[in-house]
Amino acid sequence: MSNEEGDLYIGIDLGTSRSAIATSRGQRHVVESYVGWPLDMVARKVIKRDVLIGREALDNRMMLDLHRPLERGLLKEGSEKDQAAVRQLMSHLLDLAGVREARENGSRVRAVVGVPAEALRVNKEHLREALQGLVDGLIIVSEPFAVAYGLETLLHALVIDVGAGTTDFCMMKGHYPTDEDQRTLPNAGDWVDEQLARLLSERKTEVNVSIHTVRRWKEAWSFVGEQSKPLKVTVPVGGKPTEIDITEEMRLACEGLIAPVAETMIDLVAASETEYQEKVRQNIILAGGSSAIRGFAKRLEEELTEYGGGKIKVVDDPVFAGCDGGLALATDAPGADWEKLSS
């Protein structure tokens, strides 16, 4: 429709845990949403850079003032550092996707940036300020809406985006979702990490691991329901590598997500028009990094049984589903609208 020759369209998923970019020229990149500045002159000398982004920042966190700018799905109120971190993260993604060169070669860059729904509600202006000037046209959108658009599930559907900071729900009714069509829960990936860390500290008192390690375990082995093989990890105990079983703790931490997510899902379905509830129940999309928890979609389907049953589809590519949706929005938006939105 509007994809004019020479213009570059991009979709970005600015997430609490990971951020991803997809461009109309086929570039796709993902980085962990960490930004760190050297703590002091010594750190700067060692790192030899003004700022580190993503995994590199996480790996050097001891020497950095480390920020995950959308912690809990929100840009912290009044935090200039977090605003700067968002900008650094975006710049990094744009550089990875060759946006700087494209702009130098005269291409107009038009971006749709998906953010957690709560950040869109609370930090819209701060986000826009943080991203000012990085692209030639900017649309900010809630992440679950971008996912729904990308999958073309626009009518009688419910998107559940289980991210790191928040779980966002978005009912798609064929019109732009209102506040009533959306919900946000604080129970999401980070919450699972905290539960798992707490359970381990209570039950395996000899083990002392960082939240980053716990997160890594969760990302590798999270599950709900039955687990055929025990989950065993090796950690130093009194300096000695020791194997511990974390199966039960992992199960309990992950299963803690089921009740709040299921309740909100059922609540939203029940709030939709009676004649369409069956269609909505058959058209529930599970997205976001934490949708990868093994057995999670099945358990949510079981929760729907007594309400007439339903079908929950996990997106094929949780990492890129959001930015692919953003890219679809960017290319579909008419050129005239982009002109109005030019920064």
């Binding site: 626009l154 009518l155 019109h175 732009y176 009533e180 946000t184 604080p186 909100t264 008419p334 939105l341």
Partner: protein
């Protein structure tokens, strides 16, 4: 496929509109609105004054000349309009969405362009007397919590120079109808009903705010406008129009108030209790909201069913935090957008 394309176009249009509003820092749903500068506010006040004077003059003519002759001569609008004014057909016609010839259908009312000062706030402490509300195993009673929070909120509002009226100030049973009547009689500008939730799933802890939903009759919304003031309405039509304008404004403003209070509750309570869930801003036909004549909301400020929340609610500091969150929500609603963060202050710019 064609339906999907149509939906996509519509979604993009709304999305772009929302982003343009953010760029121009205009409130949601106000794309066609002017920015709310003092100058424009003054202009609108003048226009509102002119409309008011026109209505007053029409009313004056009609009362003086009961046959409506002077009124019709003054209008000089020919037989069709006169007939309409005589037999009341214009009134019926308006109700059926068929408009007289030469009549311009009004656009939707934009309440923000007629800023009204908020001076008197009615606080309704839910339940009372025999009507105890929910009670926990540990003996916390909803009616006592709501009254305590209401009194704390009253003090905060009064210290910010608002006037406050309360539907009850002690442990007494007050019928819902009576609560609305008291607020209406006092001519309150806003109405806030405070409740504490009880949810079957006792792990849930969240806040939700209700307002009376907008009318689903699109014609009423269309009527609520100002551009048609020279179109030959009868006084009754004008009165009906103004009533409709008011109905629409109440609904829009109630929603805006609910959104501000819900946001404030979440932001404030999550500072100490990050697990608090956003149960949303919702429409509901609560009697107490239906019968009030001013923007009215009902806030479920916590969940007594949740053990942790109940423990927190037992602490005065937490109840004060809730009262402060409600106060800040009201203050944000009342403050003009450009100074919403500046704190304090009284009412809307007038």
């Amino acid at each position: 496929m064609r339906q999907n394309d149509r939906i996509k176009r519509s979604l993009i249009r709304e999305l772009v509109e929302e982003n343009l509003e953010a760029i121009e820092r205009r409130p949601k749903g106000s794309l066609r609105r002017h920015r709310r500068s003092r100058k424009i506010r003054l202009t609108w006040w003048l226009l509102s004054g002119i409309v008011g004077m026109t209505v007053g003059a029409l009313f004056f003519f009609l009362v003086l000349d009961t046959g409506g002759r002077l009124y019709r001569q003054w209008l000089g609008n020919g037989p069709e309009t006169t007939q309409a004014a005589d037999d009341g057909s214009v009134i019926d016609t308006l109700g059926e969405a068929v408009l007289p010839a030469g009549f311009t259908r009004p656009g939707p009312l934009e309440p923000d362009v007629i800023p009204l000062a908020v001076q008197l706030i009615a606080i309704d402490a839910g339940h009372g007397g025999d009507e105890e509300g929910t009670i926990t195993e540990s003996g916390l009673v909803e009616k006592e919590l709501t009254l305590d929070i209401a009194k704390r909120l009253k003090r905060l509002l009064e210290s910010a120079s608002y006037s406050v009226t309360m539907t009850r100030t002690r442990d007494e049973a007050v019928q819902l109808k009576e609560r609305s009547r008291r607020a209406n009689e006092d001519r309150a500008d806003l109405f806030l009903s405070i409740h504490v939730n009880w949810i079957g799933n006792r792990t849930v802890r969240g806040v939700e705010t209700y307002f009376l939903g907008p009318t689903d009759d699109p014609h009423l919304r269309e009527l609520a406008a100002l551009e048609n003031r020279d179109s030959g309405y009868s006084v009754a039509d004008y009165r009906r129009l103004l009533d409709t304008i008011y109905t629409d404004a109440k609904s829009v403003e109630s929603r805006r108030l609910a959104t501000a209070v819900q946001r404030s509750l979440l932001v404030s309570l999550r500072r100490t209790t990050p697990e608090i869930s956003n149960r949303g801003v919702k429409c509901a036909p609560f009697v107490v909201l239906v019968a009030t004549e001013m923007p009215a909301i009902l806030a479920e400020v916590s969940c007594l069913s949740n053990e942790h929340e109940a423990r927190l609610l037992a602490r005065p500091a937490y109840r004060q935090q809730i009262a402060r969150a409600l106060f800040e929500g009201i203050r944000d609603y009342c403050a003009p957008p450009e100074s919403a963060d500046s704190g304090g202050g009284k009412g809307k710019e007038s």
